[in-house]
Symmetry: C3
C-alpha cells in the first residue's frame, strides 16, 4: 500500500475501526441473500444459506432475519472488506481488472428502446466482472450486468410481464433487485454464486423510471462497482409523443490504477466523496457526443439516480421543464421547473418542449458533482 493511502488510513483509524464494527452489523443482510458465500476456488463453500434457500414462493424454511447471524465470517468479500485482506476492499476481483487494453470506449446509447410487442418481456442476463473504459484514459474494474455500466435499459409497461433470469458468471455472489417489482426480495432478489441462476417474474403496477441493482451485501459496494441500471415503465395510456431518453447518474470511487485498471474502493464509498460522476457510466460522454433532437420535439428524460449515495439535481441550461412527474406519470405533474432533485435510489420523469434551437447542457446542478462529469449536451437542431 502506498504512502498516501497509509496516511489516510492511519488518520481515519478511529472512524474506520468503528465503521468496521458498524459494517459487521449491516454487511450481511439475511433475506436478500446476504450471507455472502465463500466461492473462491479451493475454499469450501461452508455457509451458503442462499443455496439452501427455498424455491420461489415458499419462504418459510429460511432462517428468520432476527435469528440469522448478521455477519458472515466465511464470506470472502465480507472478510476482505472488514480485514482489508482481499484487494484492499476493492472491485479488483475475478476478471474485473483484466484486459485494460481490450476495453474499448463506446458511447452508451441513451435512447429509450421500444416496447416489445405481446406484453411479455423475457430477459436472461449474466453478472460479469469486466474492465470498462469510461474515458480515453480511464478503465475501471467493473462488476456488471451484461458487461456494461449501467446495465441494459429495460422498457416495459404497466400490467405487462417481465420474466427475468440472472446467471452469475462472476467470482463473487450477485443478485438482482428491480425497484419496479413488488415481490419477496428474500426469494426473488436472493444472491447466487458462480454458475447459479435465479428466475423470477413480475408485473409492474406503477409507471415511472425505476432503478435496478445488485442487492447483495454490501449493497454499497455492488452498486458502487457498477451493478445498476434503469427499468422504465410506461403507463398503459401512452404519454404525449416525445423523444425519450434515459439517463442514469452514478458516482465512481476509484483506487489507484493497477495494470491500467482502476478498481472501485469501498473505503472511498464509505467516505462519500466521489472521484467522478457520470450519466450512463461515462463522465461527460454527451459533451463529446451529444444527444440530438429537432426543434419542435418534446423531450422526455427518464432520470434514475443510482447513487450509490448522492442525489441528482437535474437541470437543463437554457431550458425549463414544463412538466416533472414526482410520482407515476401521468399523475401529479408539476409545471415550470428549473431543477428538481432525484433521490439516490429513485427516479423521475422530466419533460421539456424544444421550441428553441441551440445547444443545451444538461447537468447535475449540484456542481461539485456536475463538474466531475454529470454533464452532457442536448443539441436541438433547427
Amino acid at each position: 500500500m502506498d504512502d498516501p493511502i497509509t496516511l489516510r488510513l492511519s488518520e481515519l483509524h478511529d472512524r474506520r475501526t468503528f465503521l468496521t464494527r458498524a459494517s459487521a452489523l449491516t454487511l450481511a443482510i439475511p433475506g436478500v441473500g446476504a450471507a455472502l458465500t465463500a466461492c473462491s476456488p479451493g475454499r469450501p463453500n461452508s455457509s451458503d444459506t442462499t443455496r439452501a434457500a427455498p424455491a420461489q414462493g415458499t419462504g418459510a424454511a429460511a432462517p428468520a432475519p432476527g435469528t440469522a447471524q448478521p455477519n458472515n465470517s466465511d464470506s470472502r468479500l465480507d472478510t476482505a472488506v472488514v480485514k482489508g485482506e482481499h484487494h484492499a476492499g476493492t472491485s479488483a476481483t475475478g476478471t474485473a481488472a483484466q484486459g485494460a487494453q481490450s476495453a474499448v470506449y463506446h458511447r452508451f446509447d441513451p435512447m429509450l428502446p421500444p416496447l416489445v410487442p405481446g406484453g411479455r418481456l423475457q430477459l436472461h442476463w449474466h453478472a460479469r466482472e469486466v474492465p470498462i473504459r469510461i474515458a480515453d484514459d480511464t478503465v475501471v474494474a467493473a462488476w456488471t450486468f451484461e458487461g456494461d455500466v449501467p446495465g441494459p435499459i429495460v422498457h416495459t409497461r404497466v400490467g405487462d410481464t417481465v420474466e427475468f433470469t440472472l446467471t452469475n458468471d462472476a467470482a463473487i455472489p450477485h443478485s438482482m433487485d428491480f425497484h419496479a417489482a413488488q415481490i419477496d426480495p428474500k426469494v426473488a432478489f436472493r444472491s447466487i454464486v458462480k454458475g447459479e441462476s435465479v428466475t423470477f417474474r413480475f408485473t409492474p403496477k406503477f409507471a415511472g423510471a425505476f432503478m435496478y441493482h445488485c442487492g447483495t451485501a454490501p449493497v454499497l459496494m455492488h452498486i458502487g462497482s457498477g451493478m445498476f441500471g434503469a427499468i422504465i415503465v410506461s403507463p398503459r395510456e401512452p404519454l404525449p409523443p416525445a423523444k425519450e431518453f434515459v439517463l442514469v447518474q452514478n458516482e465512481f470511487y476509484l483506487a489507484d490504477a493497477a495494470n491500467g485498471v482502476r478498481a472501485s474502493s469501498y473505503q472511498k464509498m464509505l467516505d462519500m466523496l466521489p472521484d467522478l460522476v457520470a450519466f450512463n457510466g461515462r463522465p461527460s460522454q454527451y459533451v463529446k457526443e451529444p444527444i440530438r433532437v429537432k426543434r419542435g420535439d418534446r423531450v422526455r428524460f427518464w432520470i434514475v439516480d443510482a447513487g450509490p449515495t448522492h442525489p441528482c439535481h437535474f437541470h437543463v441550461v437554457g431550458e425549463q421543464f414544463d412538466t416533472v412527474y414526482l410520482g407515476a406519470p401521468p399523475a401529479t405533474p408539476i409545471r415550470g421547473v428549473q431543477t428538481f432533485t432525484v433521490p439516490a435510489g429513485g427516479g423521475m420523469c422530466f419533460e421539456l418542449l424544444c421550441d428553441v434551437a441551440g445547444e443545451f447542457p444538461f447537468v447535475n446542478h449540484g456542481f461539485g458533482h456536475g463538474q466531475k462529469g454529470a454533464i452532457g449536451f442536448l443539441v436541438v437542431e433547427p
Copy 2:
C-alpha cells in the same frame, strides 16, 4: 489527543480556524435561549439572559436579536467548542459518559402509540445525560429527552392540545423545539439550566410527521448528541386503517471510546461524515429484530429525518409506496413511488399495501448512509 486526530486537526487547521470564527457568529442564537449559560459548579453564572427572559407571552423585555452579542464568551460549551478545552468539544458532559456497563441494549419500539382520549396530551419530560447502548459493542454518551435516543414518540391530532413541560436535569442548558407548534420560540423554546423547567402548550394545525429537538446553541451539537424525536399529528378525519410505524433517522459522529463510552464529536459533525446512521437510534436494529405485519395489512411509515445534516432517501426493497404525502395528509398524495427524499429536519408519510408476504428491507437508499446502519426489515407474514 492521539496522533491520528492531531494529524487531522493540523491538516484541517485552516478550515477549523475559520469555522471557529464562523461558529462564533452562530453558536449563540439570541431568542432561542441561545446565550448559553455557564452552569458549571463554582463558576458564577454571569450571563444567563435566558433566566432574565420574560415570562411566556411577553417577549418585549428581551434584548432584540440585532443588539445581542452574537457569541457568549461565558458559555461553557461555546468556550469548549471554540477553544477545544472542555472534553475537546464532545458530549462527554455530566453523567453522559458514566455507567457504560449498566447501559443495556433494548430495541426501540417503532409502533405509533395510540391517541390519548380527551384531546389533551400532557407531557412532563426531563433532559438527561445518559450513556446509551446503541449496539452490542457500542455505548454513546448521549444527551437525551427522557433517557433515550430518540426521545419518546408523541402522537396527537390536529386541533388537540399538547401541554409540555421540560425540566433540565443535565449539566448544560437545554430546550425543546416542536416542529408541530406555531409558537414564539424565543419564549417557548428558550434554554433552561439545570433544575429549571419550562412549560408551553400548543395546538397542531397540520397533520404530518414532525421533528422535535433541543434548540439550544449550538443546535448541531444538541441534535447530533441525541436530543431529537418525532411528534406525529394525525388528521381529524382518520386516514385509512393501517399498521403505523415511526422511524427517526439520525447520524452519529463519534469520538474514540473512553471508559467504554464514545462521546459525540462536534468537529466530526462539522465535517459531516457520519460514523453511523440509524433508524430509531440503533444501527440496523430492525435487521436483528424486524418489524412484523400480516399479509393484507396497509403499512404507514411516518418518517422523520433528524439529521443533523443529511437527508433520508427512503425506500422499501421489493415494494413500492402506493402513496407518499409531501404535505399534510391526506392532501397532495403522490402515487407509485420507489424512493422519496425526507429533508433533514423534515418528515413525510409513506404508505404501502403489503399484499405480498416476504422479508422487505427498508433503507436509506443513499447507500453511503444505508450501509452505516440506516436499514431494517419489514417482515410480511403470510
Copy 3:
C-alpha cells in the same frame, strides 16, 4: 504552500490526479462559451473561440460540441486549475484580492424589489472582481455581478421582457445564465473576455424563484466564487398580498487569508466541505440584523439555492409553511410543511401566515450547513 495543505494534497494525490483528468473533460464546455480565453495582459489571446462565435441567433458556424477539443490548454484558468500554477486554483485574480481595508460590511437587503412598470426590464450589469466583507473579520476575493454577492435581485413577471447586457470588467472570461430564460445558451450565455459585452432578451414563461449565475467553465469555480443571484418571476395574476423576501443560499470554500483577503479554493469546492454557508452572502447576517414584519402579515420567502453543491432544507423555527409551491406558483401547492428541500441550482416559494408575534429563526435544517451560517431571524412584531 504551507505544510497542512501539502499534507492534504499528497494524501489526496490519487484522487486529485484523477480529478484533474476528469476536469480536463468537463472544464471547458463548448457551446457555453466554455473555451476559456487567455486574456492576461502580455499573453496572446490564442484560442478565443468565443470571440469567433457567431452573432446571436446564428449558431451554425460554431464548432459542434462533439468535435470541439474538450479541454482548452491555452485557457489561463483551466491551466491554473489543472496545473496549480495560478493562485493555486483560487479566485485571487485581477482585483478580487485587493482593497480588503476598503471592503465595508453591509447587510444585503432581502426585500423583493417592486416590479418595474411597462413590462420591460432593462439591465446592464458588469462582471467585476472585488473583495467583499462577509463578516466583521472576513473578506473574500469575490467574482461578482455588479460588485456584490449575491448579485442584484431581479424581479419580473411571466410574459414581461427582460433585456440584459453583461459587460466584463474582469480579468478572466465570464457569462450570464438565467434559469428563467428559454434561450440558446451557446449564444446568449456565451463567455466574454474583458471589455466585451453580450446582450440578450427573454420572456419568462413560468413563475418562480430562479437562479442566475456565471456559466463559464469551470462553472463550479464561478458559482463558488460569488457569481450567482436570484431572478423572481411573479405570475401575471398576483399571488395573495404578502411581505416578500428573497434568500439565496450559497457555500463558501475559502483558502487562507492573504493580505487580509481569503480567496475561494477550487480544490475545496471539489471536496464539497464548505467553510461557511450563508443566506444572501453573509453568514448569519439576519441574526445580527433580522428581517422584520408585523403580526398578521403573510410572508413569502422566495428561496434560491445557489449551491454550488448542497441543497437547502429550509425551515422556520416555531412556524410552519401553510404553502410551499414545488412548481410555478400558484399551481401545485402543498400545505402544512415544516421543512422542504430546495435543490442546488433550484428555487422554491415558501409562505407562512405570521399570526404569532415572536422571534423565529429561519435555517437550513441540514445543521452541518445551518451551523456554518445558513441562519437568520424573522421578527414578527406584535
